[in-house]
């Protein structure tokens, strides 16, 4: 009995853990397909793909993605090579100096990104001036500065990844290569680099992801090359749209794809290795249902294919499906609702005025009911027939029953400006 309680609590804990971990991603993904112009999952109005097309028509986002990829590639090249050099140095340095060296090389990870960003900017500006170059020189180029600035600490991450692999390297292998006539360069290229390849790949992925999501450092160095994170941050300042959810959804899908693909590949290699050991060909391993070799005992591969089929189905639907009718219906419904509410409000005011006339001065006693979480403080209509300037906003405001009372909806801003 005690045992089952423990088991249940473990499951509950797991559920909570995964909800905490994945919940926001799921909600965000749903909002990408909902038609309201403020990203939200409920109430569900209409299935729409317009946010994806909105995303691909947004020049700034596309430009940000392009810059992010450029910076990412530059950072991979610079960080991985610096990380490898640092890792090699760490394994070969005089043992007494090793701890000190390690601390120094790890320090950039501990320094706040903001500091790194500012100091990169200042440092290269100095150098630029010392060399007597103008403001448009290569050294003050945003792409260059961002890559250099990000690499200052991403190289340390790469080094940690590479050191772990390098510690398992047997120096005798290099010596054996030298002994067999190889030069140091040949030994490095033919023996050490192939050995390091898996770690180099991990370091490259890590470097790209760290570069892609970096904001703190980049915000000082981007110059004329705003990366995606910079663009997003600037966009959010003016109100968030589901187009950003659409982008997030795509990133999530790509990540899941990559992860599944990688997993499937690893599984496939295991299956082949196992088959080799048992002296059988891959095809022989399956019994009963004849699956292609790739799928044998490979849950990841099967998930991957299901996932791919689902994606193709969604894209296919998107090209055919048109949410126009649904949106029109919803708008019609909203319009009716709004009219009804305006009517109600008018009635209410009338009643209030009558009550005020009767009760004399007991004004605030009976506030009009409002279904917003903030008790209608944002609904301009409730301001006791306030000034006429806000009246046009009434329409949009009252149709929005979200917790933020529509502050993020761009229409509201327009309305307020009137």
């Amino acid at each position: 009995m005690n045992n089952s309680i423990i088991r249940i609590s473990i499951w509950v804990y797991l559920a909570i853990f995964f909800i905490y971990l994945l919940g926001p991603l799921v909600i965000m993904s749903i909002t990408a397909f909902n038609s309201p112009s403020f990203p939200r999952a409920t109430p569900w109005e209409c299935l729409t793909f317009e946010w994806f097309s909105a995303l691909f028509q947004d020049e700034r986002i596309l430009n940000g993605i392009k810059n992010s990829i450029l910076v990412g590639i530059g950072t991979i090249i610079l960080s991985v090579s610096m990380g490898l050099a640092g890792a090699l140095m760490l394994t070969q340095i005089w043992p007494k100096l090793r701890a000190t060296y390690y601390t120094i090389i790890i320090a950039p990870i501990l320094i706040p990104g903001v500091v790194l960003g500012i100091s990169t900017l200042v440092f290269w500006d100095r150098i630029n001036r010392m060399l007597g170059l103008g403001a448009d020189s290569f050294l003050s180029n945003g792409l260059f500065l961002t890559i250099i600035g990000q690499s200052t600490f991403i190289a340390s991450y790469c080094m940690l990844v590479l050191v772990a692999r390098l510690q398992r390297y047997d120096l005798a292998l290099t010596e054996a290569a030298l002994d067999l006539g190889a030069t140091h360069a040949q030994a490095f290229r033919k023996i050490l680099l192939p050995f390091m390849r898996p770690a180099l790949a991990s370091a490259a992925v890590l470097a790209f992801l760290a570069s892609f999501e970096n904001y703190n450092t980049t915000t000082f160095t981007f110059g004329e090359y705003p990366t995606l994170t910079i663009e997003l941050a600037q966009k959010v300042r003016y109100g968030i749209t589901p187009a950003i959810s659409a982008l997030a959804f795509m990133i999530v899908v790509l990540t899941v794809f990559a992860a599944l693909f990688n997993e499937a590949n690893i599984k496939r290699k295991e299956v082949i290795a196992k088959a080799r050991k048992e002296g059988a060909t891959v095809g022989d391993v399956t019994s009963g249902v004849k699956l292609p070799g790739f799928f044998t005992g490979n849950a990841a591969a099967i998930t991957l294919v299901v996932f791919a089929v689902a994606t193709i189905a969604v894209i296919g639907t998107a090209t055919v499906y048109s949410p126009k009718q649904c949106i029109a219906n919803v708008q019609e419904q909203k319009r009716l609702e709004t009219q009804k509410r305006i009517q109600e409000l008018r009635d209410q005011r009338k009643r209030d005025a009558e009550a005020a006339g009767q009760a004399g001065g007991a004004t605030g006693a009976a506030k009009p009911s409002n279904n917003s979480g903030f008790g209608g403080v944002f609904a301009p209509g409730t301001l006791q027939g306030g000034d006429q300037g806000t009246a046009p906003a009434d329409d949009a405001g009252s149709s929005n029953n979200s917790g933020f009372g529509g502050v993020f909806a761009p229409n509201n801003i327009n309305g307020a400006d009137n």
């Binding site: 010596e175 002994d179 006539g181 190889a182």
Partner: protein, 370 residues
């Protein structure tokens, strides 16, 4: 094949900071020989090997290969190939790629490399294993691949750093024979490092016995075993019983030694110490367990030893009797098993006899740790 290239070490000193790893080594290795450095771990034998292969520059002195001074020549330019203790096969390369690595470096085409690798695989009896990874082979197979890889570079001198130490006993004994055969077939100089005197004795033309950076004795297996130059060589190579004492008189190549426990015993003086061992010197006398024989109890003489039996054991091919010896050491006697009946003598006094020629006296010195 190569006619055999000699290796000379001239006044070789190797220091690491204050620590002297090799002290004034002078060795002449004849071309085409199987030469072993034998010594306990930490005696500097691997250091010598690294100096010959070029991974280490000597602090003083020279390494000559085929008469050419190797000073300043890197390991990749020397006509040597080293077989590492852990073999150091390239884990990501297939067996044939491993073997032909030196040709890849030299720029040979894949076809040539494959052809040469297959020849070598035939030689080491692994003909159809070329496409496996080293991790898919057994210990003995890996061993042979390492040898093939070294031979593929066509070295003049093959250096082996305790290559058999990771193998189990049966395989080790098998590989001894195999190594010796390969060496005879290719006819190049082998320099072999080991702490196993059995390996050194069975395979080598010549052996150098090393102790703490110093070469104690160089000679062929029989000389080292029968005519040790120092107390260390006598006690490290094979089993030996030690009797400590002072030289009482010297007659030609024989000496009479007053031992601490066993009375006056007569012994041959080892060749290297003829004329050096004088009356009154501290000396050590060594008799091998198999050179001792049982004698009627109580017999007295200059080649009889009487002592208490502490314990006995049956080893299969021999009965071993252990008796109270000198300085905490036991006297071991090995009696060959001919199927005779054997009584328990524990606690009794027994008398042993030996032939004077089978006992050897050297100046007192450090013994090998057991």
């Amino acid at each position: 094949m190569s006619a055999g290239v000699g290796v000379d070490l001239e006044n070789l000193w190797i220091r690491f900071g204050d620590f002297v790893a090799v002290r004034d080594a002078n060795v002449h290795i004849k071309g085409g020989d199987f030469f072993s450095f034998l010594g306990p771990s930490g005696c500097g034998k691997t250091t010598i090997l690294r100096a010959v292969s070029g991974f280490l520059e000597p602090s003083e002195g020279n390494v000559l290969i085929g008469g050419n001074n190797m000073k300043g020549i890197g390991p990749n330019k020397r006509p040597t190939a080293l077989i590492f203790q852990n073999l150091a096969l390239f884990p990501l390369m297939k067996v044939w790629e491993n073997i032909s690595f030196s040709m890849e470096i030299a720029g040979a085409s894949a076809k040539e490399r494959r052809k040469r690798a297959d020849e070598l695989l035939d030689m080491i009896a692994l003909s159809d294993q070329g496409d496996k990874l080293p991790s898919e082979l057994s210990g003995g197979q890996r061993q042979r691949v390492a040898i093939a890889r070294a031979l593929c570079a066509e070295p003049d001198v093959l250096l082996l750093d305790e290559p058999l130490s990771a193998l189990d006993l049966k395989l080790r004994q098998h590989m001894r024979t195999e190594l010796r055969e390969i060496q005879k077939r290719v006819g190049i100089t082998f320099i072999y490092i080991t702490h196993d005197q059995g390996e050194a004795l069975t395979m080598s033309d010549d052996i150098a016995v090393m102790r703490a950076g110093v070469i104690d004795q160089i000679g062929d297996g029989k000389t080292i075993y029968n005519d040790p130059a120092t107390a260390f060589a006598a006690s490290f190579v094979g089993e030996n019983n030690v009797f400590r004492g002072k030289v009482l008189e010297v007659n030609g190549n024989e000496a009479l030694i007053r031992t601490n426990r066993s009375g006056d015993l007569r012994s041959r003086i080892s060749t290297a110490n003829l004329g050096k061992l004088a009356v009154g010197d501290d000396a050590m006398m060594f008799i091998r367990p198999e050179a001792l024989d049982l004698a009627p109890t109580g017999t007295k003489g200059e080649n009889f030893v009487t002592a208490q039996v502490t314990h006995e054991e049956f080893e299969g091919n021999t009965f071993n009797i252990f008796m109270e010896g000198d300085g905490g050491k036991e006297i071991k006697v090995a009696i060959p098993n001919h199927g005779q009946s054997f009584d328990d003598h524990t606690g009794q006094a027994m008398t042993l006899e030996y032939e004077v020629d089978n006992a050897v006296a050297v100046p007192a010195g450090e013994l090998a740790a057991e």
